[in-house]
Amino acid sequence: MTTSIYTPEMARLVKVETLTALEKLFTIELPGGRSLGHSPGQFVMLSLLGIGEAPISITSSPSRSNGIFELCVRRVGDVTNALHNMQPGDMVGIRGPFGRGFPIEKMRGKDVLFAPGGLGLAPLRSLINQVLDERGSFGRVIILYGARRPQELLFRNELEEWIARPDVECLVTVDRGDETWTGNVGVITTLFPKITINPRNTVAVTCGPPIMYRFVLMEMLSKGIPETQIYLSLERRMKCGVGKCGHCQINHLYCCQDGPVFTYTQIKNVEEAL
């Protein structure tokens, strides 16, 4: 036997864009321009030889893959710092895609409400763009996005496109504004009163820091969205991505295999989840 689930495939960085002071967008090409074959919400194990591995959500939509995929990465530690120092042409290791993504087939025909906070936009952007590329198959598309400060907003060009599109309702807020900011100020939950929805026909999706999604879930529930139609993507420490190392467990669930995307029904009684 010469293959191993732990051996990454080497892939080329083809583009590196700075998004904010902490986040960069990396465009990656697999050997031979092969498609990654992911679904929105899945992640890869990103491997830098000699440094280590980190789980990173795929932020590009499968509908726009063209032999490449994108990762939006915040620099926080060894792997992410080293990645931020890399240039186009450098190689990174990729394992995956792993995990259960968003069940897009269950969303077709429905209104979709996205409520990402901060870096939580990275995994949701994959789904948002897929939905927009098949715009006709969905009802309303509502995006509520919150970041701490204006400089921390990710994908500003795309945000502006979404705001400009007549078939997308997109509201953006920041916790603290500055002199250049003319938009909403307040935490993401302050956007919820600004929208009216048909809860039975709405699928809601969130991702972000724990303190944020706990409140967002409450907003979604109080809007009357059924528990089975609320999805969130969770983050845990991961060392293998394939259900072996034990690090990502949330009680009996494995974030890397049973998740990272869960319905609210699945986790509402799972004590370590929320």
């Binding site: 000699g50 440094i51 530690g77 060894d78 710092n81 080293a82 120092n85």
Partner: protein, 257 residues
């Protein structure tokens, strides 16, 4: 960086036995390639030259007097990375034992009639005076760990420092537990990284690498008491290498469950 691209490294010593620097000299002899990776510009134990343009400073020893503080701040201002080398720099080690006695007595014991000459004060780890980027614990340091830290610094990684206790390394080596043969051991609260060297050779861990970040001190005391140690003997084990830490934790009231 030097013109050859190698980072410049300097070693400094404060109050200590210099045993750790000897371990470094030892490592240099067994890892000759280390000298190809860095350039040493200051190292009293090994070279007589003194360069002042270093990027990485390894500091050995505790801060024991006012004058040390000035010297430490100067090093901090020059170096981009400061590494506390060994238990004396990391925890103030046995130097801090004197903190348990009134300073006047200590001066007299140590310096006799010349006590007035020395402006010694409570021994403290260098992190009490300047910011420290990395720690190599131990009395003396473990040479493999020294090499690992140097490699991590060269790779731009955060130097590894285990947060788990000596028991982990001890069990993975499948040692007979000291408590099973009537000996005492501080392994459960002591930071790993030494390869559990003392239990491996049949002695209980004395805690020379300092405590793990959230030691369960009360449970450790219960275990030692259960194994037959008196309160005094337990305190002696807690303070041998960790007087400064124990006092600092008491001051913080830091007892986490």
């Amino acid at each position: 960086m030097t013109s050859n691209g190698k980072p410049k490294v300097a070693f400094f010593d404060f109050a200590c036995c210099e045993g750790c620097q000897l371990t470094v000299v030892d490592s240099l002899q067994t890892h000759l390639d280390l000298l190809e990776a860095v350039e040493i510009v200051q190292f009293r134990e090994a070279i007589s030259d003194r360069g002042e343009d270093y990027q990485i400073a390894f500091i050995e020893g505790s801060c024991t007097r006012q004058a040390d503080e000035e010297r430490l701040r100067k090093i901090r201002a020059q170096a981009s990375v400061v590494v506390a080398l060994g238990a004396c720099a990391h925890t103030a080690c046995v130097n801090a034992l004197k903190n348990l006695h009134p300073l006047e007595d200590v001066r007299r014991w140590v310096y006799g009639d010349q006590a007035e000459w020395y402006d010694t004060y409570e021994a403290r780890p260098i992190s009490a005076v300047i910011e420290v980027d990395a720690i190599i614990p131990g009395c003396p340091i473990d040479r493999e760990e020294f090499i690992r830290v140097v490699k991590a610094l060269l790779l731009g990684k955060k130097p590894p420092l285990p947060d788990y206790p000596v028991c982990v390394e001890c069990k993975l080596k499948e040692n007979v537990c000291m408590f099973h043969i009537g000996k005492f051991c501080m392994g459960p609260v002591t930071r790993a990284g030494c390869g559990a060297i003392c239990p491996t050779y049949g002695d209980g861990c004395e805690g020379c690498r300092g405590f793990i970040p959230a030691p369960n001190e009360n449970a450790m005391k219960d275990v030692l008491a259960d194994a037959g140690l008196t309160v005094e003997a337990i305190m002696a084990r807690f303070t041998m290498f960790n007087t400064y830490l124990v006092s600092a934790r008491k001051a913080d009231g830091e007892e986490r469950r």
